[in-house]
Symmetry: C2
Subunit: 391 residues, 2 copies
């Protein structure tokens, strides 16, 4: 069974994170992704640390399995190549500042007139409409404006950035959804579509409880450290050797937790009888629980709590997460094949496990800048099969 | 032009967050989503605060535009209805504990044999394979195990939960990608597919820089408060009336920032001449910048910095974010229509703006539990059009 996007050609004009992250997912689904880069320097993230033998581990982990050609989209000869690519492409993806494509003569109005089946995806900081369309943004700007920093951090403390770059990543994920929906629709309509995803919009869309609380009560929530704002106990706790979480989502789980801790009477204490009461007495309950948990290591508590059916888990560093047996069993940590003379890197696996999509044992390497120029020109001339072997 | 998923029927057996979030996005793309709920209580989140007139704002914001029928999947009469629905469905989505569907006789092996075109999506804490398949998980458990809490929080401080429920949300988003890829592929193969998304896997997949740093250097990053780990200055700063961010992604932006602050000589100081030098002197640089910014309000600095081409923005509460002119101009805050006798709520708009997908001025309401039983039975009997008006 071929992969779901077998035969689909993606022209990837994107750089840094939101766009490349989206294009990589399309490659994971089986599309041929041709990364069109600026001559000389290419994608900015080729210069992002950390490096191995002069190559960026960051770029490698985000761009595996793509082809690269460097094109100057202001030079006539390169524009001619680009337009031959457009005629073969199903999807064009870019994350320039709004207006940049129009400046090159490749705005949506021109593209859709010349290539009516082309699907055009644009990821930007604030979108292609609205009073601030055209302004630049970085991940942190939309984390700040979108509200997530205001609910992340210690209770009463200053705002904290989400450690993962969710300002970029979730925008890239929404773009993939739009592109796939447009591919499906094109088989029925015969027409492409433009998809316009704003990083700021995407931040609003993922904040379910903060939006519900703010709009229903008029009072926005603040940060609550490592605990859930409306469920108790649902937070980190200290064991003798580090942090772990207990997630007691209802009264039955709380009762089992008290038994597991050797304090069954806590479940009958009126201060802790309901979730509402536990939320009111959250700090004293935390001290009572930690008076038990601090005495023994995490492994003890996790085994004990799991035996009692209480959701729990270690707070892991990324090194621990990448060595987690369940993560490894799911094929989520993959070596990137190292061609002769190039360094070995590691990438995340594809979190979408589906029928027809084989689980690889390694990733194809990220391309060198302009490293596939000859291959791409051959392919355009019909001297290569449509879907190449992994580069 | 019809919406991209016009005519697609989704049976939504999901509850709480990851699954309902995914099903709602399919409704946003134009699918008919029939929520199949447990009789009596329905989706747990119908009981999640905050409430208005006895209805949950949380449930409303996550389930707008769906139909609801309550079915006891162990009772023969209800199973018969469910199987008639399966025969009409394109997609079945569930987020039970792995094995639950097999226990009901609706595991993938049975479903695909009887309904070969059915696409079956399962979201779970740890996935349907691996040593911990079958264990329950909540958002916070996978935030902890997946590593994101270890890189979120104050420098040197304890791990902090990401304020938005990204453990659930990004898993739901990956599920939507898988379902859409399978819909596209089905038009070519004639066959459905099973999609298995694990919340823990999804956490690994979104942590690009943490994975790259950990695997390339052997040392996992820790939390860095409100600043980017490898770019400086790229963090929050205090103005006289609150926090804002400055994101100086390269030397040119840093030089413009220094000019905007009235301290052009900082750009020539060897301690701050390169990003690497600025990272080394990050704390002194922050004090020097705040010695200027603390003297005036955020509005002054944002206007000044934007005039100099420096990416910046306020750290906003959710109330401020939902009133942000750019957010409103993008139609990202939508009233939910209130039928007679029911309360009014608010939901996020659809962040995927695309050709063929009209931007609504309001959301259809979330269904009452079993509120569409008669409509669903009529529809099965062919007494309703395939695609109803908004409920």
């Amino acid at each position: 069974m071929p992969p779901p996007l077998d035969g689909i050609v993606v022209l990837d004009l994107t750089h840094v994170l939101a766009g490349p992250f989206a294009a990589t997912q399309l490659a994971d689904f089986g599309a041929l992704v041709i990364k069109v880069e600026r001559p000389g320097t290419g994608d900015d993230t080729r210069a992002f640390p950390p490096f191995k033998d002069g190559e960026s581990a960051y770029f490698a982990a985000l761009n595996h399995g793509k082809r690269s050609i460097a094109l100057d989209l202001k030079a006539p000869a390169d524009r001619a190549i680009f337009e031959r690519l457009l005629a073969r492409a199903d999807i064009l993806l870019e994350n320039f500042r709004p207006g940049a494509m129009e400046g090159l003569g490749y705005g949506w109005a021109d593209l859709s007139a010349r290539f009516p089946r082309l699907i055009y995806g644009a990821v930007s900081g604030f979108g292609h409409t609205g009073p601030e369309a055209g302004k630049p943004a970085y991940d942190m700007v939309v984390q700040a404006r979108g509200g997530v920093m205001s609910i992340t951090g210690e209770e009463g403390g200053p705002p904290v950035r989400v450690g993962a770059s969710i300002g970029d990543v979730v925008a890239g994920m929404y773009m993939v959804q739009g592109l796939l929906a447009a591919l499906y629709a094109r088989d029925h309509s015969g027409r492409g579509a433009k998809i316009d995803v704003s990083m700021l919009d995407a931040q609003i869309a993922i904040q379910e409880h903060s939006l519900a609380i703010t709009t229903a009560t008029g009072t926005p929530p603040g940060p609550t450290g490592a605990r859930h704002p409306t469920i108790t106990p649902f937070s980190t706790f200290r064991a003798s050797d580090g942090f772990f979480v207990i997630a007691a989502g209802n009264d039955a789980i709380f009762a089992r937790l008290c038994t597991a801790l050797g304090q069954p009477e806590l479940a009958r204490d009126p201060r802790f009888a309901t979730n509402a009461a536990r939320c009111e007495h959250v700090h004293i309950l935390k001290r009572l629980i930690e008076s038990e948990t601090l005495a023994r290591p995490r492994a003890h508590w996790i085994a004990t709590l799991e035996a009692h059916g209480v959701p729990t888990g270690r707070v892991q560093t990324m090194a621990e997460a990448l060595a987690d047996p369940q993560v490894l069993a799911r094929n989520m940590v993959l070596p990137i094949a190292a061609p002769p003379g190039r360094p070995a890197f590691v990438a995340a696996g594809n979190p979408v496990k589906m029928t027809g999509l084989d689980e690889p044992s390694e990733r194809a390497p990220a391309p060198l800048l302009d490293g596939d120029r000859a291959w791409v020109l051959d392919w355009l001339a019909g001297r290569e099969s449509h879907q190449p072997d992994a580069p």
